[in-house]
């Protein structure tokens, strides 16, 4: 090939003392055996193009050597600390390093650390071709083999299902009422999760295209044949209401059921006992609630102006869970009574009047 021939010819020029200039020498037999004098060379040829080099790559041998050294060092460390080298875990290593090299630095990543090389050196994709240079994957030359091979597989499954449908039609057994895949309570994997799965970067457009293909697969009547393949790309959403722990019902000596619950809002804490007596009396800190909240005329649920009241509301709702049925629990959750309000008081900043209020602005 012409380029390889040129490279070979350049090697002669190296032998005769020229450096790095791209010559286009004709391949005739009468090439003189004289040193070729360089006319001028730009220093840009010698400087390493750092931007084009990309992230630093480590060879597999280098990483293997580091792993060996890590294992040996781990045993030395265990001996130093007087512990058994066989059962020396990563937590023990961290503890020993923190003891031997105490560091007062604030930045955690700047402190001395001893971890397995797989966690320190960035993951690199292995070489993707064999000894002769032939790539392993048939879509290697597209540049994005995992993503395109996924599209290829999904399309293959769509075609297989269509063939199955045609077979069923031919036999006269085609029905639309086939077993459908349960999709409620799950969502498609997000773009980041797909990128993690494929170990490749994809764009938004690609992600949308993939989801469209999966939806097309789902729209076919016999899609239950590929159920487990589809479920690999769906993530189960956790049911929200099951997360609430319902306080257990306790019984006092008179046989009256009661439950205890806590609530917090800003800096107020409320701890309440809800009894099943049915009298409707509300006592706060020993006093009647009318003394605490004289301004309110409406139901207790609208205790918004007072943050103290927000803690009470949360605690009351939680205590109520143990007395009501499952459906009511869901309704209470949907009314928003079980969500703890995470807002706290924002600190005052120097140079300002308060958290957000600024001093009067003067133009001059």
């Amino acid at each position: 090939m012409a380029a390889s021939g040129c490279r070979g010819v350049r090697s002669i020029l190296w032998k005769y003392g020229s450096c790095g200039k791209n010559f286009c020498v004709s391949r005739s037999k009468t090439v003189p055996q004289l040193p070729v004098r360089q006319i001028c060379v730009s220093s840009s040829l010698w400087k390493k193009n750092l931007a084009a080099a990309g992230p630093q790559k480590f060879t597999q041998e280098f990483i293997d050597k580091q792993v060996e050294e890590f294992e040996v060092g781990k045993r030395h460390l265990a001996n130093m600390m007087g512990e058994d080298p066989e059962t020396f875990t990563q937590e023990d290593i961290d503890r020993s390093i923190a003891y031997l090299f105490p560091s007062g630095l604030f930045e955690k990543r700047a402190r001395p650390v001893m971890k397995h090389p797989d966690e320190i050196f960035p993951k690199q994709t292995a070489i993707q071709w064999d000894a002769e240079g032939r790539p392993f994957h048939f879509l290697f030359y597209t540049g994005r083999q995992s993503y395109y091979s996924l599209l290829h597989d999904v399309y293959e499954k769509i075609l297989a299902i269509e063939r199955h449908q045609d077979k069923m039609r031919n036999k006269g057994l085609f029905t639309s009422e086939t077993k459908q895949i349960l999709l409620t309570g799950s969502r498609w994997l997000l773009k980041e999760e797909i990128e993690e799965y494929l170990v490749e970067n994809i764009s938004d457009h690609d992600y949308v295209r993939l989801i469209q293909l999966m939806e097309k697969l789902l729209s076919m009547p016999y899609c239950s044949l590929e159920e487990e393949f589809i479920l690999k790309f769906r993530k189960q959403l956790e049911a929200q209401s099951s997360k609430h722990e319902i306080p257990a019902l306790q019984y006092d000596p008179q046989g009256v059921a009661f439950s205890v619950a806590d609530g917090r809002r800003k800096t107020a804490k409320a701890s309440i006992t809800l009894r099943d007596s049915g009298s409707g009396n509300i006592t706060i800190n020993g006093r009647n609630y009318l003394h605490c909240f004289p301004l309110l005329q409406d139901r207790e649920q609208l205790m918004f102006p007072l943050h103290f009241a927000g803690a009470l509301r949360l605690a009351i709702s939680r205590a109520l869970l143990s007395f009501v049925s499952e459906g009511e629990v869901e309704r209470i959750r949907q009314a928003g009574l079980l969500t703890a309000d995470p807002r706290i008081r924002e600190r005052k900043k120097p140079g300002q009047e308060g958290a957000r209020k600024k001093f009067t602005w003067k133009k001059r």
């Binding site: 090697s11 071709w129 048939f138």
Partner: protein
């Protein structure tokens, strides 16, 4: 370094006109130090003997002009879409539809298949390219079954011309690119044709009556729109490549036996 370059060149077929470049490189001061031993001559025989035969792989028995006709390979586009440079390959036109000359197609297809077979025999990398979404899956499946490579997706800029950056340093480029359709989705010539020509990679292309055959060393005038025609081309190329690879394995086994004896 130079010796390594030369052996690399020898391993990969770059087309008959570049064999002379290999020989002239030999004439330079640096030649590979190893004297040819029996292993080298056997290997050279395996590699050089098929080139001396006109139809070593008997590819003329794979298709006839009647097969091409029944696969509707002769149907071109309308007269208005005709490309000026395709006129030599056209038989004529009927009811405004261009008809491609199947005798010329058969010759060109024979040459193209022969070339593909020789490349596959010598262990070259073959890349199937097409931008027709209708046949992308078929072509990818064909490539996978032959053990070769396919690219039927959006062609990123420097895939061939900027390969060390696009893939990794030390990547090996394809030795033959086969275009099942030379146009992309906006009826412009596929970028791969120009890039392969820039990188001295030989190309086989199925050119329809609205395509430009100029940069393609082995054009095959024929229909690229009908599913029957595309399936036939895929089948033919797959059979050629499999045949060539089987032949190579056979030769290695035979020579391996004779060399060890």
């Amino acid at each position: 370094m130079a010796a390594g370059v030369l052996s690399g060149v020898r391993q990969v077929l770059r087309g008959p006109r570049l064999v002379s470049a290999v020989l002239s490189c030999h004439g330079q001061t640096f030649s590979s130090a190893a004297a040819p031993d029996t292993g080298e001559t056997v290997r050279d025989k395996i590699l050089n003997f098929p080139i001396t035969q006109p139809d070593y792989f008997h590819l003329s028995e794979l298709f006839t002009i009647k097969d091409l006709f029944e696969a509707r390979v002769h149907l071109g586009h309308k007269k208005g879409c005709r490309h000026r440079l395709m006129e030599p390959y056209l038989f004529g036109s009927r009811l405004d539809v261009d008809i491609i000359d199947l005798e010329q197609t058969a010759e060109h297809l024979q040459q193209a298949l022969n070339f593909t077979a020789h490349v596959a025999y010598r262990g070259g990398i073959i890349l199937f390219v097409s931008r027709r979404r209708q046949f992308g899956h078929l072509i990818e499946t064909t490539a996978r079954e032959c053990g070769e490579y396919a690219h039927t997706r959006y062609w990123k800029g420097g895939l061939l011309t900027n390969a060390p950056i696009q893939y990794s340093p030390g990547v090996r480029l394809p030795d033959l690119v086969i275009f099942f359709s030379t146009l992309n989705n906006v009826f412009q010539q596929h970028v791969g044709i120009r890039d392969a020509a820039k990188m001295n990679i030989p190309t086989v292309g199925i050119v329809d009556s609205n395509c430009n055959p100029s940069l393609i060393p082995y054009p095959v005038p024929g229909n690229d729109d009908t599913p029957v025609a595309m399936e036939m081309y895929c089948r033919l190329f797959k059979m050629t490549i499999n045949r060539a690879k089987d032949k190579r394995r056979q030769m290695e086994l035979l020579r391996g036996i004779s060399a060890s004896v």
